[in-house]
């Protein structure tokens, strides 16, 4: 704590974040859940882009996300570089009930890795999780292959998320709507070096966690140093990013991690 003298706790670190992904996958809804803890069934398409901010408390640090929520339709693609050019983080969203949206997400990731800030932290987010969890759809879930998939999902999910989701999940998923298997997307994310999560903007599941996980991976010292023209960087500051400490301090109730 003593060293935080020149990294004031009260002055939040600004983190520029951009949301990308196919139209109607739920980018604006995810942001609205994060910023206002709210959801609306019929959301207007984003025309151009929308800007929002939200603070996120992490241990002794406060981040302030400056979020650009972009339009999903291909026609607006040419405007996107302006929004991701200086971004330190990106959330690339797809819709788990729409296979094509993952392909679009992959192409965004590729573009980011080629064109954006080389240190950018990217999270791949499969949204609309509630649609494959509805009890009504559970009856329609076919057995056999699908059941195996579910087991695989559990196996991959346990180590990473075990601490954060103390509630036993109703794994009676209505998998019939699902078009993107969780393990397939997770494997891709791992391979491409991305954070990964499935969320529901509707129920709020997993949304805040995405932003806290990103916050943990952001090289804060780096940003501080660069925004202050280098004067703020202490010896070894860049390496001192206390990744491990943050993990230890992780709160079991994910919803509390961000101070909304």
């Amino acid at each position: 704590m003593a060293e935080s003298g020149d990294a004031p706790v009260d002055k939040p670190v600004q983190v520029k974040l951009v949301l990308l992904g196919e139209a109607a996958v739920g980018k604006s809804s995810v942001v609205m859940r994060f910023v206002q803890n709210d959801f609306s069934e019929n959301k207007e398409p984003t025309i151009g882009a929308a800007f929002l901010t939200q603070k996120c408390r992490l241990e002794d640090r406060v981040l302030r996300y400056e979020i650009w929520d972009t339009a999903g339709q291909e026609r607006f693609h040419s405007l996107a570089p302006m929004y991701y050019r200086n971004a330190q983080a990106a959330v690339v969203v797809y819709d788990i009930t729409k296979a094509s949206s993952l392909e679009k997400a992959k192409s965004w990731v590729k573009e980011l890795q080629r064109q954006a800030n080389p240190n950018i932290v990217i999270a791949l987010v499969g949204n609309k999780l509630d649609l494959v969890q509805s009890p009504a759809a559970a009856g329609a879930a076919p057995a056999g292959e699908e059941a195996e998939d579910e087991e695989a999902d559990d196996a991959t999910a346990t180590p990473g998320e075990g601490g954060e989701q103390p509630l036993p999940e109703p794994e009676q998923e209505g998998e019939s709507l699902r078009q993107v298997p969780k393990d397939e997307a997770a494997a891709y994310a791992q391979e491409a070096g991305l954070l990964f999560a499935e969320t529901s903007a509707k129920t709020g599941e997993g949304v805040v966690e995405v932003f806290t996980e990103i916050a943990k991976k952001i090289p804060i010292e780096h940003i501080l140093a660069s925004t202050r023209g280098g004067s703020g960087s202490r010896a070894g500051g860049a390496q001192a990013r206390p990744n491990v400490t943050l993990q230890e301090g992780q709160q079991p109730a994910g919803g509390k991690a961000c101070n909304c």
Binding site: N42, E44, I47, A49, R75, M82
Partner: protein
């Protein structure tokens, strides 16, 4: 003929109802009747009066018809085309359907998934995507169509949409790459710089770009989230004077809010653009009873007047357009230059690579030769030493030979002397 009667009937009904409602807002119903009867004639002979009447706002019930008259959109052939297109299916159907419930989601007319509002919206947008495949479907377009549909039946909305796209030059907003929008954003930037220099400077310092807030104004002709009474008034003026009217309204909004905007920071500015701009036109009525809040009303007349006060001349717009063209040309030239340089670079790289590989080859060849040379040298040395050996052997043999010969001579001589 029937349509005409229907119009007349509707006109009379509205006339009576309205007269009771707006006693204070003198609407010249006789004049509007004249306009409805023969728009062309009125436009030719009483242009000034007409434009004043439109500035005061077209009466709601006549609005759709007047829009059609102003844009000269009535076209039976086109309505037939529309009817035909309804039977076809469009490659954009999925995208259009996806956005149906997301257009004016808070407006009663468009809320019902099975309702006539969404059905008409789908039909017009889908038909247009077939009619103009180069544009196809673009987000933002349904908002314009929805504003039309709130004032006229779908086949007429289709015809007006086509007028808007072509004659009013809205089409460039929706083409891939949106060239028309880019141009108008540039013109708008320059207008802000010219007319509101303080605000321009403030925006530059704060990093606010017009594309961040203005794209959605222009793409939806302000219908995205602004109060509908205001939106319709904007449409009135666009139909009457042309698409350039959007500049007047956009500048007026900034000008009216300039003091507030000057005091705000980047994120506050963008937030205010979404939510606060129209506050200055709000009518604050004291509630009749605490439980019953009257619907928010806006001083739309003032808004229109303010927009008309903005001095945007065709000359300015043309100048800025020329600047933009030049900018694009420069950019293109730059791109071409970059491209040629890149090509040259690639060529040189390839050359370097071949040279490198031939150098490598030469090197290995050289190595081989050196090796060979060394080997030969070694061989030569070996041979030389062998030669020396032979030479010595020869010498020895010679010596031995000589010895043998001399000893035999001696024995011969001694034999003879005996």
């Amino acid at each position: 003929m029937q349509g005409h009667l229907r119009l007349k009937e509707g006109f009379n009904k509205v006339h009576e109802a309205q007269e009771k409602l707006d006693e204070h807002e003198e609407i010249d119903w006789d004049f509007w009747g004249e306009i409805m009867a023969d728009y062309e004639h009125v436009a030719r002979t009483k242009a000034k009066q007409l434009s004043e009447a439109i500035q005061k706002g077209i009466p709601g019930a006549l609005r759709g018809t007047i829009w059609e008259l102003m844009s000269a959109s009535k076209d039976m052939m086109l309505e037939q085309v529309y009817a035909e297109l309804l039977k076809e299916s469009s490659p954009h159907e999925k995208s259009i359907l996806r956005d149906l419930g997301r257009t004016f989601p808070n407006h009663e007319y468009f809320q019902d998934v099975q309702g006539i509002g969404q059905e008409n919206l789908f039909n017009v947008v889908k038909a247009y995507s077939l009619y103009d495949p180069e544009v196809g479907y673009c987000q933002g377009m349904p908002f314009v169509v929805a504003a039309l549909l709130l004032n006229m039946p779908d086949e007429e909305a289709f015809c007006v949409l086509i007028r808007l796209m072509k004659s009013y030059d809205l089409r460039g907003h929706f083409l891939p790459e949106m060239p028309g929008l880019q141009l108008r954003l540039y013109q708008f930037d320059r207008l802000v710089e010219e007319l509101l220099p303080l605000l321009h400077q403030h925006f530059v310092r704060q990093g606010v770009k017009s594309s961040m807030y203005c794209s959605q104004w222009f793409l939806t002709l302000f219908s995205y989230r602004f109060p509908l009474d205001m939106v319709f008034r904007i449409f009135d003026i666009i139909f009457a004077t042309g698409i350039e009217a959007i500049f007047g309204f956009a500048i007026a909004l900034l000008e009216k809010n300039e003091d507030v905007l000057l005091s705000l920071k980047f994120d506050q500015i963008l937030d205010y653009m979404k939510t606060g701009l129209f506050d200055t036109y709000k009518v604050y009525e004291s509630p009749v009873s605490p439980s019953e809040r009257p619907p928010t009303r806006y001083r739309a007349d003032d808004f229109v007047q303010d927009a008309f006060q903005v001095k945007v001349s065709p000359f300015m717009l043309d100048t800025y357009a020329a600047e933009y063209e030049e900018l694009l040309r420069q950019q293109n030239k730059h791109l071409v230059e970059m491209d040629t340089l890149r090509n040259v670079n690639r060529h040189l790289s390839a050359q370097v690579k071949t040279l490198e590989s031939s150098l490598a080859q030469l090197n290995t060849e050289h190595c081989d030769l050196v090796k060979q040379f060394v080997m030969i040298k070694l061989e030569k040395e070996e041979m030389e030493s062998e030669l020396v050996k032979y030479k010595m052997l020869y010498a020895e043999t010679m010596l031995a030979n000589e010895d043998a010969r001399s000893s035999s001579r001696i024995s011969f001589l001694s034999k003879r002397s005996r």
